[in-house]
Subunit: 402 residues, 2 copies
């Protein structure tokens, strides 16, 4: 697998653009991705009962399994916007389809930003005109344009050899609040030139999202707009990837790299975050238990606040494992704090270990910190990713709309 | 029902004390409650898999259904403390039993504070000696001594007539972080002079806690030490309250008043809180659905941060209802913000209502704020209570141990 700097235009036959359409105050706020030819399309979406209008539109389209383009706006989520919201999502697809000389049923749409305000369709249409004029091989403008409170653009790309052909996967995501994906995530767009059937792609997407996006949490709030959309246009020229084949395994590894990298970038850029937190659970009864335990820890406000203060308050980690709902025996757990500065054991076989507070502080002052718990009950292992809870999180969210 | 200022010594035959034993830096840190005669004892406890040593001790005792005294310390939770922790909890009961000339199996113990550090038993024993010497009718010192990061003591009391006798119920609680009770809560101690059987008392406790303590959240973290303990010593002289009787209904109303008042005080005094939030859901399919929806809203970091900023960001409320797991139709919901300054509708039949931002701000600048959602799908109604998420929450929890 070759990893390189890239994004949604890295795979063959994709162009993209990002422009300022006036939905946000100053920054780029609309993006477009277009495939030269019709692509297989797959998607996973929020499990929130309140689904934004673009999510409902896209669910229908990826159910049919094909698409040619994606149009995205930030600054407004088009969620909780009633009948008008549904009409606006469809018109957003339909107007872009006209400009691209394709059908509206091949245009996916996505929105992110404030909830409960109708889209300004005049600005959206003007933005779409600019987007079509600006389409190019550049992937950076699009990655910028989908951001909300993010502090950096999130992209990843890699290539693998499949049947003698180079298959490339690239993607981009946005964070950075209302992040607690469940069967889906915040907005994420993946493009690949692989030839792959809809069924295989959709099934790969589901299981990969479960291990990547569904293992991050910024604030415990599952958004109304979470979507991961994938377009696979087949332009790499490989023979179609079949279920259970060696080719599928190669593709899956690359796919997992791109989604995992993007997911961790979202956690790293959590609203107000000063620290990236990785919680690893080993020796759980099952992988599912390990996931539940790890995810509970990175979701705990108290754990997150302790990491903000570089405080080796390990009791909160054990407490969060305890209320996770997963089965484990707290009396035999080992627990370590880890960072690039080293590791320190704080609990051994369920008994507190006296530890050097200065050493612990040194480890926890790093910007990439974490903990490893060994449950000694089986082979289940998983990691979850999050960030610390800071004054700035409160500041950003105390007055998000203004 | 007569409501008055009181606490754990308001019911006949109970004495209490609160002293400084050196577990905290300066404030009172140990409390004791003693009944003149053996009392019926009931308890509900944390559902966290990680249960503190005193919780395990008390579960055994309230299972047997009787007790004479409770000893509490703050400053140290005696949780995640291994075998030594269990021994210490038992010794804490046993030493107090000796001083009170009773059996250790009649002495409940409770601890709150930092997790993962063994109790200083010399200080605990010295504290118990002071506690026994200081026993009196005063309920205030005990209420002070159980606090951790709380900013005020939480007590409530009332009396009702049952069979011509005056039955009194009093109680005290502590907050104010790691609050997300599940079938139980943070430490809470209720005393009554009612004559009531263990079965009736335990069953009343379970259902009342479900509507009161289990409907508050400060930070989504279910503690390792949550306990509600009730002692009923029968000294009111009423005929024993029977299941399903009119007397039980009268007692239940008073019991519900005390537990509900204490629970709301905990929410009001949430760590760093500047606002008390009440979320009411009406018209849900069932009461359970209403509870799930309301509780999800007061637990949302984004909703809490918006209330901190007096920001009428109602989309976050609908979003939190959406991911609660309860069934409802977002397209027919009405939503209002409310406070002593009035109410304002922001969503009607699932459609956003243009509203006066100045009026909304005026409503949300109050210290007691809330929202009411009407789901129009049935008779289910419930309220949940919480507080805003503030800079001070992060500050308090960023360095709790020092």
């Amino acid at each position: 697998m070759e990893i390189f700097e890239g994004g949604v235009t890295s795979a063959k036959g994709f162009k993209a653009s990002g422009v300022f359409a006036g939905l946000k105050k100053a920054r780029k706020d609309m993006a477009m991705i277009v495939s030269e030819c019709e692509a297989v399309a797959a998607g996973t979406y929020t499990t929130n009962k309140v689904k934004a209008a673009p999510v409902l539109w896209d669910m229908k389209l990826t159910g049919q399994g094909k698409a040619r383009a994606v149009v995205v706006n930030s600054g407004n989520a088009n969620a909780c916007t009633g009948e008008q919201g549904l009409k606006d999502a469809e018109e957003m697809a339909s107007y872009a389809a006209g400009l691209l000389s394709t059908e509206k049923e091949l245009v996916l749409v996505a929105s992110t930003g404030v909830i409960g305000v109708n889209l300004d369709m005049a600005k959206i249409k003007k933005g779409e005109e600019l987007l079509v004029q600006s389409l190019s091989d550049d992937w950076k403008d699009a990655a910028q344009a989908i951001l909300t409170t993010d502090t950096f653009a999130k992209t990843a790309a890699c290539s693998v050899e499949i049947g003698g052909k180079t298959v490339t996967i690239g993607g981009m995501s946005k964070g950075s609040g209302m992040i607690h994906p469940n069967m889906a995530t915040t907005l994420s767009f993946i493009t690949t030139d692989a030839a792959i059937s809809h069924d295989v792609l959709q099934s790969l997407l589901g299981k990969t999202v479960d291990d990547t996006y569904n293992m991050i949490s910024v604030d415990g709030d599952t958004s109304t707009n979470d979507s991961v959309l994938v377009l696979a246009n087949g332009m790499a020229g490989n023979a179609e990837i079949r279920k259970g084949s060696a080719e599928e395994a190669v593709f899956e590894e690359a796919f997992r790299y791109v989604l995992g990298t993007l997911a961790r970038m979202i956690a790293r850029d959590g609203e107000g975050a000063t620290r990236f937190i990785e919680m690893t659970v080993k020796g759980a009864r099952t992988k599912e238990d390990a996931k539940t335990l790890a995810r509970s820890v990175v979701s705990s406000s108290l754990v997150k606040a302790a990491f903000f203060g570089s405080d080796a308050n390990w009791g909160r980690i054990l407490c969060a494992m305890g209320y996770s709902g997963a089965d484990f025996d707290p009396d035999i757990v080992d627990l370590f704090f880890v960072s690039p500065k080293g590791s320190i054991e704080v609990l051994s076989g369920g008994q507190p270990v006296p530890f050097d507070e200065d050493k612990a502080k040194e480890i926890l002052l790093e910007t990439e910190v974490g903990a490893v718990a060994d449950c000694h009950q089986g082979d289940g292992e998983a990691s979850a990713w999050g960030c610390d809870l800071t004054y700035d999180y409160v500041k950003i969210n105390g007055d998000y709309r203004s």
